[in-house]
Amino acid sequence: MRNPVLQLIVLLWLAAPLFARAAADIEINTPVIATLKQSMQQRHGQLEPHYAAGAVGLTRDGLIALRDASVLPLSARQPVNALIAAENQDRNALYREIARANGHPEWEGDIRSTFGQRWIGLARPGWWFQGAGGAWTQK
């Protein structure tokens, strides 16, 4: 589990039948995706302790959110907010780019929810995620 992003891409590849059509042709290796992946990998190191502490959780729509700010010192709460905003910007760009690169911008919603499930699947024990009802659940 050292590299959730890479694993996700691999898993997504394996899970390609989830996408209704032309599974084998799915494009997940464009330069945009590579750059976003790198940026997310770099940020992951900063986010990891916050996932573990429960400050940040994984949402159902493939993003991350501030779950419980009270575990952070007051002065760290806004920087973590900024980190979350940057990560979500990358994630939104990633979903948009995968949909675009495959010539189906309308897939964005499906891609987002597939990723949402996969991120949660890849989360380490102890991390928090949004369950089916939207409530926070600890893995």
Binding site: S70, L74, R77, Q78, N81, A85, A93
Partner: protein
């Protein structure tokens, strides 16, 4: 802010005790061994209560028990209150010792009181010792005729106790609160209700937080002094609050107490709070004057007039503005200078905003742009158009220096317009025409402009960009450029002159130009570039002639090429065509080391220069690999013809390697050109 609520609720608590007194008096009128009394409803302008029951029980009716189902004061509700007194004496004085007060959801509070009908005094006291610290709440009331006065004195009062007294709605949103309160609240009035009050409270070590942690404070020391007088149906009030120490996170703001102050006065009329005069002093930032009107009950700000003349922009941006810009491309700005501002808000909507900047400077953390010496007066109004005057002392754009310029901005509603603007760029100038930006509700801004670049010295430009020196001038016409839905597009062609030839850029589209993943698509056509100028700049080895360059289907991601079909070919026409041995070797080297070595060994190296008839080279970049080819019409058995010989002595250069890694190719090009300009140390 916490002080404000603490004060209000201490006052409300004193009202509670007054209410108990009223109930008690009713009960004592029927002093008999066993009395129980129940009242459905009490209504008064300041307080109403429902389901009141009082009972005197025990031997000689020495135990008092009062319960209230609901009590409402100032629109706030408390439920299930109970006061019981095990040692209750009725006489000239009425004393209650060892009583307890129960509030819904909070622990029992030890309370006692003493009432004298002859002296017309009531003393009530709550005194506890918890965690080694004594806590003392004391209410002293006296009255004469219809006038009364009550003073609540708090010594080391626990803020958590106030939180317990908070109405249900506020209590639910607070996860915890701690800290100590000292001070007094004095209220006087008549039978008609309170007439005036004075508050002097200090909190020390206050900490609070809501369940989400998005609103929290720690280590707060603060002081509130306030007075209020009733005048007719309204309260005239004056308050001063100081916050010397502690930290608060109120998403997204993180503020530290560094001697901030708020002084305000106004009128409270029913649910409407009028702020007549307010002065907010933010330590290190500046002073802001405020006036306005708010619907107190619904927490809605109706009108606001804000005025400030001299704020420190660096501090204002860092502490107040930046947190709101997280995730945008403006979060990494460095800002300095002084600013003034005026804001007028009516019925919750901004009507007018005036911004004054003096000696301001702004710098992007990635060095993309910087402006300094900015003096501006920007008046904005919701209705109608106003003219802003912005003067910029100078700046830098991607390292290129910009001279002083003026921005004749027209602004109003959701639109910005610049009819014509001239920005000096090095020794030339950039003319911006018809810049127009607007946005509709819930949409991003979209904008468009056209422009022109008058001749800029290439030598100066390349120096500023830190690249190899080039000569000649750069000038061009910029057709209509537009930005909407995160896509920057250009209609028509961008034309400029360089290396004595022309460059035409067509079909420019940039997706997400200011975001995480900027991606550019364009087609480039260059005509009749002077090879002599080109090769001398890049120290490639001298070549004479002219070439046409086409780069079609160009795709850049993060400003790096990921796909294109490029072709270099001799321009049609008659001109001298010579190629130096160094250039031949370099062209060969690009195809791999083998070819260059072959030339070295051959007799050709005795000549300095050769003639040629045509040059041709192509590269199709796909997946990081450049598929190379030569002159389209020439065919060679094993390779492709890059240079076709002509004249005497003639040379033909054939490339054999058809695929090369793009970055490897760039590396080779870099090495070739660098080796030729390597300084010699002796």
């Amino acid at each position: 802010m916490s002080q404000g609520s603490a004060g209000t609720d201490s006052w409300a608590a004193s009202q509670l005790l007054v209410a108990f007194l009223a109930v008690f008096l009713l009960a004592s009128a029927h002093a008999a061994p066993r009395i129980s009394l129940s009242i459905d409803d009490i209504r008064s302008p300041i307080l109403s209560a429902r389901g009141i029951r009082a009972a005197l029980t025990g031997t000689r009716a020495a135990q008092l028990e009062i319960t209230l189902d609901e009590i409402t004061a100032q629109g706030r509700v408390w439920r299930n209150l109970r006061f019981s007194c095990p040692t209750f004496r009725l006489g000239e004085r009425i004393d209650c010792e060892g009583g307890t007060l129960h509030l819904s959801g909070s622990a029992a509070i030890p309370a006692e009181f003493s009432y004298s009908s002859r002296e017309k005094t009531l003393d009530a006291r709550i005194r506890t010792v918890s965690e080694g610290a004594g806590e003392d709440w004391r209410l002293a009331a006296r009255w004469a005729g219809s006038a009364w006065e009550g003073t609540l004195t708090v010594a080391n009062g626990q803020a958590a106790r106030i939180a317990g007294l908070l109405p249900d709605r506020e209590k639910a949103s607070l996860a915890f609160v701690k800290g100590a309160i000292d001070g007094t609240i004095r209220i006087r009035g008549t039978a008609a209700g309170p007439e005036g009050m004075e508050i002097g409270l200090a909190v020390a070590g206050l900490a609070f937080g809501d369940a989400s942690g998005l609103h929290a404070g720690e280590g707060i020391d603060a002081r509130l002094d306030a007075t209020a007088e009733r005048q007719g149906g309204a309260w005239m009030w004056r308050a001063g609050a100081a916050w010397p120490r502690g930290e608060v996170f109120w998403q997204p703001l993180y503020l530290t107490g560094r001697g901030h102050r708020l002084d305000a006065s106004g009128r409270l009329e029913g649910d409407v709070l009028h702020l007549l005069e307010g002065r907010l002093t933010l330590a290190g930032v500046g002073e802001v004057r405020l006036a306005g009107e708010a619907d107190w009950a619904n927490g809605v700000l109706r009108d606001l007039d804000l005025h400030t003349e001299d704020l420190d922009l660096a501090s204002l941006f860092e502490h107040i503005l930046k947190p709101f810009l997280a995730g945008s491309s403006f979060a990494g700005l460095g800002v300095s200078g002084r600013a003034g501002a005026g804001l007028r808000l009516r019925d919750g909507a901004p009507q007018r905003l005036v911004l004054d900047l003096r000696g301001a400077a702004v710098e992007d953390e990635h060095g993309r742009f910087a402006f300094h010496g900015v003096d501006a007066r920007i008046p904005w109004q919701a209705q109608g158009v106003s003219s802003a005057d912005i003067r910029v002392g100078g700046g830098r754009l991607e390292g290129v220096p910009l001279g002083a310029f003026r921005v004749p901005l027209q602004i109003g509603g959701d639109e910005v317009f610049i009819p014509h603007m001239m920005v000096p760029v090095l020794d030339g100038e950039f003319i911006l025409k018809n810049f127009h930006a607007s946005h509709e509700a819930d949409e991003d801004w979209h904008w468009q402009f056209s422009g022109r670049l008058s001749p800029v010295s290439m030598q100066k430009l390349t120096e500023a960009l830190g690249s190899r020196p080039m000569y000649g001038t750069l000038s061009g016409t910029i057709p209509r450029v537009s930005y909407a839905d995160r896509v920057l597009g250009m209609d028509g062609s961008l034309l400029f002159r360089v290396f004595d030839g022309t460059v035409e850029v067509r079909g420019v589209t940039v997706r997400d130009p200011f975001g995480r993943a900027p991606a550019l698509e364009a087609d480039l056509d260059m005509h009749e570039l002077d090879l002599g100028m080109l090769t001398s700049v890049f120290s490639f080895g001298s070549m004479q002639g002219r070439v046409d360059v086409a780069v079609h289907g160009l795709e850049l991601f993060d400003w790096k090429p990921v796909r294109f079909d490029a072709r270099v070919a001799s321009s049609p026409g008659s001109y001298p065509r010579r190629i130096s041995q160094a250039a031949v070797q370099n062209i060969s080297a690009l195809g791999g080391s083998g070819a260059a070595a072959a030339i070295q060994r051959s007799f050709l190296h005795v000549f300095e220069e050769f003639g040629y008839s045509r040059i041709g080279w192509s590269c199709s970049l796909r997946n990081g690999v450049c598929e190379m080819g030569g002159i389209a019409s020439e065919h060679s058995d094993q390779g492709y013809v890059i240079v076709k010989g002509g004249g005497i002595p003639a040379i033909t250069v054939i490339g054999y390697n058809r695929s090369v890694d793009w970055w490897e190719l760039l590396d080779r090009l870099q090495r070739v050109t660098q080796e030729n300009v390597q300084p010699i140390f002796k």
